[in-house]
């Protein structure tokens, strides 16, 4: 449904988006991750036809966004960053306007408005003026606007920004459910949302794609993925790590904690130690050594760690500086 090929956008000397390519098919939910200023919103603005690309091609449903903007825009529902809405209208008026702009009139319009009011839980504010809405409700109103014509393509820029935890959950569920029949792209800073709603995620940093895959694939890029943590009673942690290092399956071991007579140690696998071999060999070691094993667990990769390790170089020095100055 969405095909983006080598997209570039420069603002003056700055390359905000620098050669991004991806495709999204019907039934896919693509998550956009990346630090502030990475170029997520700029990419979405180009896909929705709001700003023209400096170079590259975008097609939505087979229509080139630059050459056939109206046909492409008809297929897209868009929630811009910060959820703008006309301040001088009521929620009902605003949604009716959006429906009419999408070619829905009369009974069809009324039905469409009722449907999204219900889906986005806006019943209590339909007659309220948009500029008196709380941030979360304004966000939901703008979200409702984006799905009013039941578009096959949805572009959502931080759809859960400013929502309370219940609403965040509702919106994620909604995205996942709608994603079965639509092509959806959404950006977020909340990494759990990638697991909760995406079939695939892209991490963008400084205008380039630095990672692309299913949530599992991304998580497995974490250093911790496949590492095994073990907790042993009554033995100094240093002794444990010494023994661990002798195993052929262990690349590296690390003391996580030593308290109340328990030593917690993490072992990272060698290529030999992948796919459960590490855990097995650790268990055998513990039996041989007669260790009192309190816990033995293979760790999954963590999205935040992957995110940090991929996009770190820029942010790390800054973070250190602020700590020093304290």
């Amino acid at each position: 449904m969405i095909k983006v090929d080598n997209l570039v956008k420069t603002f003056g000397p700055k390359r905000a988006v620098d050669g991004i390519s991806f495709t999204v098919e019907r039934g896919e939910v693509l998550g956009f991750l990346g630090p502030n200023g990475a170029g997520k919103s700029t990419t979405m603005r180009m896909v929705t036809g709001f700003i023209p690309p400096t170079a590259g091609r975008i097609s939505v449903g087979g229509h080139d966004v630059v050459d056939q903007p109206i046909a492409a825009k008809r297929l897209i529902g868009y929630l811009p960053e910060n959820a703008p809405a006309y301040a001088d209208m009521t929620v009902l008026g605003f949604l009716s306007f959006a429906a009419e702009m999408r070619g829905l009139t009369g009974e069809a319009r009324r039905k469409a408005v009722n449907r999204v009011v219900e889906m986005c839980f806006l019943e209590s504010v339909v007659h309220q003026s948009v500029d008196t809405l709380s941030k979360g409700y304004r966000h939901r109103t703008c979200f409702a606007q984006s799905i009013i014509h039941d578009p096959p393509v949805l572009i959502l820029d931080e759809p859960t920004d400013g929502l309370d935890p219940n609403q965040k959950h509702e919106v994620r569920t909604l995205i996942r459910r709608m994603g079965e029949k639509k092509a959806i792209v959404f950006s977020t800073h909340i990494l759990e949302e990638v697991d909760a709603a995406c079939t695939r995620a892209i991490i963008i940093d400084r205008g380039k794609i630095v990672a692309n895959g299913t949530p599992e694939q991304l998580r497995s890029r974490s250093e911790q993925a496949g590492a095994v943590a073990l907790r042993v009673a009554g033995i100094p942690a240093a002794d444990v790590t010494a023994k661990l290092r002798e195993l052929p399956t262990v690349r590296k071991s690390q003391v996580l904690a030593e308290a109340a007579g328990f030593a917690t140690v993490r072992a990272y696998p060698n290529p030999d130690g992948r796919n459960g071999a590490l855990q097995e060999s650790l268990f055998e070691l513990a039996v041989r050594q007669n260790w009192k094993l309190a816990e033995l667990r293979t760790e999954e990769g963590r999205m935040d760690e992957v995110f940090r390790s991929i996009t770190l170089p820029d942010t790390m020095p800054a973070a250190n500086k602020t700590e020093e100055s304290k």
């Binding site: 036809g49 825009k73 897209i76 811009p80 703008p84 209208m89 069809a108 014509h149 039941d150 029949k181």
Partner: protein, 265 residues
């Protein structure tokens, strides 16, 4: 395909390109007008407009002392009256859209930018027309006092409406320049002031002292005053209307260029 999708597909398939454009312009204009009346600003504006026209016509223009059954004293002041009133109506057109960020919504809907520009312009123009129509008691007054030439009066109203449209288009253009309404107001007042002064008799008299008459005529030809004067005297020359129309077309076209420029970054 889900239900909504088929509906949209049908809706756009049934209508031709032109009726789709008409539908979009109408929807945008309707929203804009309802925006005016959603706040007290519209009513305040109309009251101020009527009070000021009354003040200029009766006090400054000495309507009763003229002893003629015409609205000349009323129309005489319109170029000056509009100088401040029209920019105050039009200044929000695009600057507000940019300030709120709704321009991003509007221009990612299936409309072309010119449809949005025309829709918004027509809405404000219709609003100005409404204010103008509400001066109708004056027509009854002159009719009661004497035997006016209704042809001349109609000409005056048409000319006045076109002049308002020209000012409004200029304001539309300046409002696209900035997200600050006040700045947009000031720039449009200055631009409209140029349009007046270029043909204002005191300025022309001054110019004639040191420029050749041909040049002075050319300058005067760019002024709204020159064109409005002949129209309000009852001479509905197509050249005058074309003058106003070309200001509108030029300004609205420039508005489109400015908006495209913003998006290109």
């Amino acid at each position: 395909m889900s239900n909504g999708e088929t509906q949209v597909a049908q809706a756009s398939g049934e209508r031709g390109e032109h009726s789709m454009a008409f539908h979009n312009i109408k929807t945008i204009a309707k929203r804009e007008i309802s925006g005016y009346f959603a706040s007290p600003v519209a009513y305040v504006f109309i009251v101020i407009f009527l009070l000021l026209t009354g003040f200029f016509t009766f006090m400054v223009g000495r309507f009763f002392d003229r002893g003629e059954a015409s609205l000349a004293a009323f129309f005489l002041w319109h170029p000056w009256l509009y100088l401040f009133l029209v920019p105050s109506v039009g200044m929000r057109l695009w600057s507000e859209e940019r300030r709120l960020g709704t321009i991003e919504l509007l221009l990612t809907m299936p409309v072309s930018p010119w449809q949005a520009i025309v829709g918004k312009f027509l809405a404000s123009w219709a609003f100005l027309a409404l204010a103008l129509v509400l001066t109708f008691p004056l027509v009854f007054t002159v009719n009661y006092l004497g035997d006016p030439d209704f042809g001349v009066i109609l000409c005056g109203y048409i000319g006045s409406l076109f002049m308002a449209g020209a000012y409004l288009a200029v304001t539309c253009m300046t409002s696209a320049l900035t997200r600050n309404q006040v700045v947009s107001f000031i720039i449009s007042v200055v631009l409209c002031l140029f349009l007046i002064l270029a043909g204002w008799p005191p300025v022309l008299e001054m110019l004639i002292k040191w420029a050749d008459p041909g040049l002075v005529d050319t300058v005067a030809a760019f002024s709204v005053v020159t064109h409005f004067d002949s129209v309000q005297l009852g001479v509905l020359d197509s050249r005058d209307l074309i003058y106003f129309l070309s200001i509108m077309v030029f300004s609205l076209f420039t508005t489109g260029v400015i908006i495209r420029g913003h998006r290109a970054g």
